[in-house]
C-alpha cells in the first residue's frame, strides 16, 4: 500500500466508512510509516475540532415570514400548552364559582325573607289553636 492510498483510507476510517477488510492493511502501513501516522493524528485533530462547530441559529425574521404563510414556526412548548389550557379553564372556573355563589346568596336571601314572612304569618307564633283531648285543670 502506498502513502496516497493509505491517506485516502485514513479519510474513510475517520468517517467510519472503511471496509473491515481494509482495516488490517491500513494499520500495517501506519505501523511502518511516520508520515501517514502524522497525517492521521493531524486529520483526527481537525476532525475532532469540526465536531465543535455549532449550527448558526436562523434569524427570527424567517419565522415571521413563515407565520404569515399560515405555518406556526415556533411550536408552543408542552409546558406552555398546559398553561395555555389552564388559564382559560381557571377563568371559567372562577366565573362559574362566582355565579353559583350569587345564585346561592340570592336563594338564601329569598328563602330567609320568605321564612321571616312565613314566621310572622305563622299560626305557630300564637298559641296553638287546638283543643287537647286532655284539658288541663287550671285551678
Amino acid at each position: 500500500m502506498n502513502c496516497i492510498t493509505a491517506k485516502e483510507l485514513v479519510n474513510e476510517f475517520l468517517d467510519n466508512e472503511l471496509s473491515p477488510e481494509l482495516l488490517q492493511p491500513l494499520f500495517a502501513h501506519l505501523a511502518d510509516c511516520t508520515e501517514c501516522r502524522k497525517f492521521l493524528v493531524q486529520t483526527k485533530t481537525v476532525h475532532d475540532a469540526a465536531a465543535a462547530i455549532r449550527h448558526i441559529p436562523a434569524p427570527a425574521e424567517l419565522d415571521r415570514k413563515f407565520n404569515i404563510l399560515g405555518i406556526q414556526a415556533e411550536e408552543v412548548p408542552a409546558i406552555n400548552r398546559r398553561i395555555a389550557v389552564s388559564i382559560p379553564s381557571a377563568i371559567l372556573s372562577g366565573v362559574l364559582v362566582f355565579m353559583i355563589s350569587i345564585v346561592f346568596f340570592l336563594a338564601l336571601h329569598t328563602e330567609g325573607s320568605q321564612s321571616t314572612a312565613q314566621r310572622l304569618d305563622s299560626p305557630m307564633i300564637n298559641a296553638p289553636q287546638f283543643s287537647s283531648p286532655f284539658p288541663l285543670n287550671r285551678q
Binding site: 481537525v46 462547530i53 436562523a58 413563515f66 399560515g70 411550536e75
Partner: protein, 196 residues
C-alpha cells in the same frame, strides 16, 4: 381528522422526518411547521457557510423551505427527507453563487486548487482550533466546502452526500480527502505552534 391522525399529531415530537412528511402531504400544516422548526438552523448554517453572507443565506433558506412546502409531493416514498432538503438548499446556494459569479461547482478539474488562494485567510496563532477551522473551511472552493460541511457538521453518509450533490460516492471520497489535506495544510502552523 381520524383518531389515529390526531394521536400522531399530538405526539409529533416523537415522529421521524419521514412520518412528518407523510402527515404534511396529507395536509397537516403543523407537520410542515415541525419540519421547518427542526431543520431551519441546519439549513441556514449550511447556506451561510456556503455563501458567506447572512442576507443571501437567509434568502436561500427561505426559498429552500418554500420549495419544501410546494414540492413535498415530489419527495419519493423511502427517500431520506434530510438529503432531499439539503439538495434543495444546495440548488439555492448554487443560484446565489452563480449570481455572485463565484466559480460554478460543476466545473472542477482534478488539478484545480482545493482552496481559494485569493481568499484573505490568515490563521492567527491564538484562539480555539474550531474557530480557525471555520475560517479555513470558508476558504475551500464551494464544491469541496459543501462535501466537507455535509459530512463533518451534518453527519451525512458518503451515499447521502452523493445523492444530495448529484454525484458519485467515489467523487465524494475524493473531495473529502482533498478538503482534509488542504485543511491540514492551512492549519498546520497553528497546530504546530499549539503543539496539537
Amino acid at each position: 381528522m381520524t383518531k389515529e391522525t390526531h394521536n400522531a399529531l399530538y405526539h409529533m415530537d416523537t415522529l421521524s422526518d419521514e412520518e412528518l412528511t407523510v402527515q404534511f402531504r396529507n395536509g397537516h400544516l403543523n407537520a410542515g411547521a415541525k419540519l421547518y422548526t427542526k431543520h431551519k438552523d441546519t439549513i441556514y448554517s449550511f447556506c451561510f457557510r456556503m455563501v458567506g453572507d447572512a442576507e443571501a443565506a437567509k434568502d436561500a433558506t427561505q426559498e429552500t423551505f418554500l420549495k419544501m412546502m410546494t414540492k413535498i409531493h415530489s419527495l419519493q416514498q423511502g427517500m431520506a427527507f434530510r438529503s432531499w432538503l439539503f439538495a434543495i438548499a444546495r440548488n439555492e446556494v448554487l443560484i446565489v453563487l452563480r449570481r455572485e459569479k463565484i466559480v460554478p461547482m460543476e466545473r472542477l478539474e482534478d488539478d484545480e486548487p482545493v482552496f481559494d488562494a485569493s481568499n484573505p485567510l490568515s490563521i492567527a496563532l491564538e484562539g480555539e482550533l474550531s474557530e480557525h477551522l471555520q475560517r479555513a473551511v470558508g476558504a475551500l472552493k464551494p464544491a469541496y466546502r459543501e462535501a466537507y460541511l455535509l459530512r463533518e457538521t451534518e453527519g451525512l453518509s458518503y451515499e447521502e452526500i452523493a445523492r444530495t450533490t448529484d454525484s458519485t460516492v467515489s467523487a465524494v471520497k475524493s473531495k473529502l480527502f482533498k478538503s482534509r489535506v488542504a485543511l491540514n495544510t492551512m492549519l498546520t502552523p497553528y497546530m504546530e505552534r499549539r503543539k496539537l
